[in-house]
């Protein structure tokens, strides 16, 4: 009955340490994709039994019961019952329970055991339970539950071999007897009572300890101090994105320049050389330099999440979120939207209320994602003087950047307020969540997630950005400017002519030909705006060595007014310049209505913001 390679599903309550166990069992041999038709992440990986036979593991979203209240939990139920499209009924279940929280976690475990599938219980985080003064009788627990129970400490890789051999045993004995357990009452109240009785039977000693987490929370969740700590953490995070990335960005720039020189030295001047040097290395390179900043931002978010602080942040933010009709739940997706709106929008699946979720999705693109950083950094570097404000230690460039972030956040709150009173009207959102214990983030788990994010970014740079860069380079290079013409190659090209058409629409808000040219390819991904300008610039410079030696920023300084530069920044605070975000919104809202609405309102906001910025700046004599 078991296939050559059995599939084992990892299932359990949120905060049971399931993902750590999954990481410990599979290591680098794991893949993340989406379930067909829904955007819930499908995490699967390979492991092997002690004798080397392979097995396939799937990590299911944390759930409290088989009665789903969010899309994530729906998938968990469907996979376990074999109803999920594209996923076979798992051969066995590993139920992960938190040893320190048996009362609650055993409810779901009992519900799963009652299904009669081959099941093993992983009694996880036993070390933390012991630290908290709990002594458990594993054998008694196993006897009561009627399935093997294996103590594990996922983060220390303890108990993994025993766990897999217990799974092997469960698969074998189930195959022989075909036994269907049953008889466990499925009534909700009964399950809770039984869970409590079993938890009590398995608990040998319970020494009430005054946990240090209580003391930490007294500060971290303090109405005033807690809020200031949250602000300070956010400030350090955004500061680090800049301070720590300076050196690595320099290395990447150096490496790209070296490669360009090598190609120029090795190849005669030709079509292919131009494509490689200007199109591929120049275009894709100008985006890859931002990898360090994106990784630092994700590192902070992952650390906050793994340590258990993120839920505290949600608690602190709930008051503000409630003002605009959202819940603290929305804070986590919105914060991760600062890295990228795509995973942010996907993370809204944990929000149970439909209207709350829809509103959160629609405002997620207003959080300043990392793809805007290339644009912001370029323009700020070129146009905002690198000096301090007055005699303070606050840098003017940093202040402008902070202002851009704040504009996005304020814009999002206003939009949420309006939406919750009009299109997404409904009862006020509820906010119910479990607060995980504090934990030291495990290096291994953080590195695995970080690597996955880096890979997604590089793949994006390697596909969408690569293709648009090459397409743009071709459109900019043809038709060739006739010899002796006084026009520039960029203006004469196909792309230049399209940009001239668009320029008519964006001229009132201060945009010039350079910007019109960059806006269209930047629909694919915002950071393409930078590579587009870099490519156009390189083609424009042609063989002019002096022009080639200038950086893109230096070139723009000579061509744009400050008012235009500021309007361009304001545009990127709001504009929906990202195909992936539109696509994910379509999938998450199941249709075109909401993504089209989102694109429409964001463009309107962007146009208005850029216009107001431009006109104000011109009025102050900056035009």
């Amino acid at each position: 009955m078991t296939a050559a390679m059995p599939t084992i599903a990892l299932v359990g309550n949120p905060n049971a340490g399931k993902s750590s166990l999954f990481n410990a069992l599979t290591g680098a041999r794991q893949k993340i994709a989406n379930y067909p038709g829904v955007t819930v992440e499908r995490k699967a990986g390979h492991a092997s039994f002690a004798d080397g036979r392979p097995l396939s593991l799937i990590d299911l979203p944390g759930s409290y019961s088989l009665t789903p209240s969010s899309p994530d939990e729906q998938v968990t139920r469907d996979v376990i019952l074999g109803k999920q499209a594209g996923e076979a009924l798992p051969d066995a279940l590993i139920v992960v329970v938190d040893a320190a929280n048996l009362d609650n976690h055993l409810c779901f475990a009992l519900e799963l055991i009652a299904l009669g599938r081959p099941t093993v219980v992983a009694l996880n985080m036993l070390d933390l339970a012991t630290r908290d003064g709990l002594t458990l009788d594993v054998e008694a627990l196993s006897r009561e539950l009627g399935v093997p129970v294996v103590p594990t400490v996922a983060v220390r890789r303890r108990g993994l071999v025993d766990l897999l051999s217990a799974v092997d045993g469960a698969l074998l004995s189930h195959g022989e007897s075909g036994a269907e357990r049953g008889g466990v009452a499925a009534q909700e109240g009964d399950i809770h009572r039984r869970a409590r009785v079993i938890a009590r039977a398995a608990t040998v000693a319970e020494r009430p300890v005054r946990r240090w987490t209580q003391r930490v929370d007294a500060i971290a969740l303090h109405p005033v101090a807690g809020f200031l700590i949250l602000l300070a953490l956010m400030f350090i995070m955004f500061q680090a994105v800049y301070a720590w990335s300076e050196a690595p960005i320099g290395w990447i720039e150096g490496a790209i320049a070296t490669m360009q020189e090598m190609v120029i030295g090795a190849m005669p001047d030709s079509f292919l050389r131009g494509l490689i040097v200007e199109g591929i290395l120049g275009g894709v390179g100008s985006v890859i330099v931002f990898l360090p900043q994106i990784l630092i931002l994700f590192l902070f978010i992952l650390l906050l999440e793994a340590s258990g602080y993120m839920t505290r942040a949600a608690f602190l933010m709930d008051g503000i979120m409630a003002r605009v009709g959202l819940s603290g739940r929305g804070f986590i997706p919105l914060l991760s939207s600062f890295a990228c709106a795509v995973p942010g929008i996907m993370a809204t699946r944990a929000i149970p209320d439909a209207k709350d979720r829809l509103t959160t999705i629609l405002i997620a693109p207003l959080m300043t994602c990392s793809a805007r950083l290339p644009v912001y950094t370029l323009i700020i570097g070129a146009f905002i003087p690198n000096r301090n404000v007055g005699n303070s230690p606050v840098g003017l460039q940093g202040l402008v950047l902070f202002g851009l972030y704040v504009s996005g956040i304020v814009g999002a709150l206003v939009v949420a307020l309006v939406l919750r009173r009009t299109l997404a009207k409904g009862s006020s959102a509820s906010f119910m969540m479990e607060m995980p214990r504090y934990q030291w983030p495990r290096l291994r788990d953080v590195l695995i997630s970080l690597w996955q994010r880096a890979w997604i970014f590089l793949r994006r740079a390697g596909t969408i950005i690569f293709v648009t860069t090459i397409a743009l380079w071709l459109l900019l290079s043809y038709p060739k400017l006739p010899d002796g013409s006084s026009e520039s190659q960029v203006d004469y090209s196909v792309a230049g002519r399209i940009a001239s058409g668009l320029e008519v629409v964006v001229r009132p808000i201060g945009f010039n030909h350079d910007i019109a040219l960059a806006l269209i390819p930047a629909m694919a991904a915002r950071e393409v705006a930078v590579s587009a300008m870099a490519t156009a610039n390189a083609i424009d410079a042609g063989d002019d060595e002096e022009a080639l030696a200038q950086t893109l920023g230096e070139r723009l300084q000579g061509r744009w007014s400050l008012a235009t530069a500021l309007a361009f920044l304001a545009w990127f605070v709001f504009a929906p310049q990202c195909i992936s975000t539109i696509a994910i919104t379509r999938r998450e809202t199941n249709g075109w209505k909401w993504p089209l609405f989102m694109v429409g309102y964001l463009f309107a906001l962007a146009y208005a913001a850029a216009g107001i910025t431009y006109w104000t700046a011109v009025a102050f004599g900056l035009g």
């Binding site: 409290y64 019961s65 009665t67 209240s69 320190a100 929280n101 009362d103 609650n104 409810c107 908290d132 909700e188 809770h192 009430p208 209580q214 929370d217 007294a218 969740l221 303090h222 109405p223 005033v224 807690g226 809020f227 839920t311 949600a314 608690f315 602190l316 933010m317 709930d318 008051g319 503000i320 409630a322 003002r323 603290g328 149970p352 006020s428 509820s430 906010f431 119910m432 969540m433 479990e434 607060m435 214990r437």
Partner: protein, 85 residues
Amino acid sequence: MNDSLDSAALGLPVRISHIAWDHLSPGEGRRLREFGLMEGVEVTPLHRGSLFSRDPLALAVGRMKVVIRAAQAAKIEVEAAVAAA
């Protein structure tokens, strides 16, 4: 003396005497039970709100800490519990 959970003092354990299940949405009711919040259970309100609001409320339920809003806590009636050590 019965009181609703949203006005209970912080730091003192209380016992849930009654939950107005009919006044909660089915989803809210289920989530409360999944958190182990049921009649007869002892809980301790721990933290309330932040700078801008007295909402939400963090509770200790057994060895678990959960967050609910005052609107739900108002549907939960509690009585003083004999303080555990």
